[in-house]
């Protein structure tokens, strides 16, 4: 079973990202479970969302405490939230940032970090606005590359089905992120 945790701010689409990812896994024949941190949400506040994936039915009905992957949609959260909490040994962190994996690794004091400038990719594809770009679809492309657990084509299909608008642009943003994510030395 694989457990993934998303960190974002309310309104950035972390919960939707967790569901789109679940959809992609589901389309590849996996069993899935996706849920937000069970709480009251509001814009701007830190939001945590989760996705579980397995080859057999998922009977686990409790929160995720030891994720294999952590995805951070908003780098400013790193100062506010312990994004690494409980991460499993060997687990990977994927951060939306202009910084390099090495710089992020130093900031997080953790080695297995991948970085992708999902904000610029989103702006390039005109997703959201300059000040509030929609990075959640792009970052899923980065996840596909880093984890190797799902095909980028499937992620793009899931995005096309889920996006309420600009389906192709959102899918291409994921593809760009897939190709440009930087996994550092690892």
């Amino acid at each position: 079973m694989i457990e993934i945790r998303f960190h974002g701010r309310g309104g950035q689409g972390s919960v939707i990202a967790s569901k789109i990812l679940a959809k992609a896994f589901f389309m590849e024949g996996k069993y899935v479970s996706a849920f937000p941190y069970y709480g009251v949400e509001r814009r701007g506040a830190p939001v945590t969302a989760f996705t579980r994936m397995d080859d057999k039915p998922i009977r686990a009905k409790y929160q995720i405490y030891e994720p294999n992957y952590v995805i951070v949609l908003d780098p400013s959260l790193i100062d506010a939230v312990d994004v690494l909490k409980g991460i499993r040994e060997g687990g990977y962190v994927i951060v939306n940032t202009v910084k390099s994996p090495m710089e992020m690794a130093e900031k997080l004091n953790y080695e297995r970090v991948a970085t992708v400038d999902a904000t610029s990719i989103a702006i390039k594809h005109r997703l959201g606005s300059q000040a509030a770009p929609i990075v959640n679809t792009a970052i899923l492309g980065a996840f596909a590359r880093v984890s190797g657990t799902v095909k980028i084509e499937t992620v793009m299909d899931a995005i096309r089905q889920a996006a309420p608008a600009k389906q192709e642009e959102n899918a291409m943003a994921a593809k760009d992120a897939y190709e440009s994510v930087n996994m550092g030395g690892d």
């Binding site: 309104g11 509001r42 814009r43 701007g44 506040a45 606005s129 000040a131 509030a132």
Partner: protein
């Protein structure tokens, strides 16, 4: 294994809501353009959070000499949640909603 129980018999919140600053909830921040503000206090009246308060007349410019003697208004950004009702109700459109993101780090 001493069980740790709360002191009160039921949930009693003792921290006043004045300490629960909700300004961080905003996506958009209302900004008053004082050169337009006619000091009618409609925004103050309509704010559902009571996050607009009176300020001394000289605190801000006024568009007309005749208005300069009246109290002006200020928005309390510690509590304004950015609902936009003030901007919507202002009869002279003196309030502009600006993305909060653009202010982050300014204070």
């Amino acid at each position: 294994m001493p069980i740790v129980l709360p002191d009160d018999p039921t949930a009693i919140a003792k921290v006043p809501s004045t300490e629960n600053k909700t300004g961080g909830w905003r996506t958009f921040r209302p900004v008053i353009h004082y050169e337009k503000c006619i000091r009618c206090y409609i925004c103050w009246k309509f704010c559902p959070d009571a996050a607009i308060h009176f300020a001394k007349p000289e605190a801000h410019e006024s568009p007309k000499e005749a208005l300069a003697k009246f109290d002006t208004v200020e928005i309390n950004y510690d509590f304004c949640k950015g609902c936009g009702i003030c901007a919507n109700e202002c009869p002279v459109k003196a309030i502009e909603l600006v993305l909060e993101e653009n202010f982050r780090g300014d204070e």
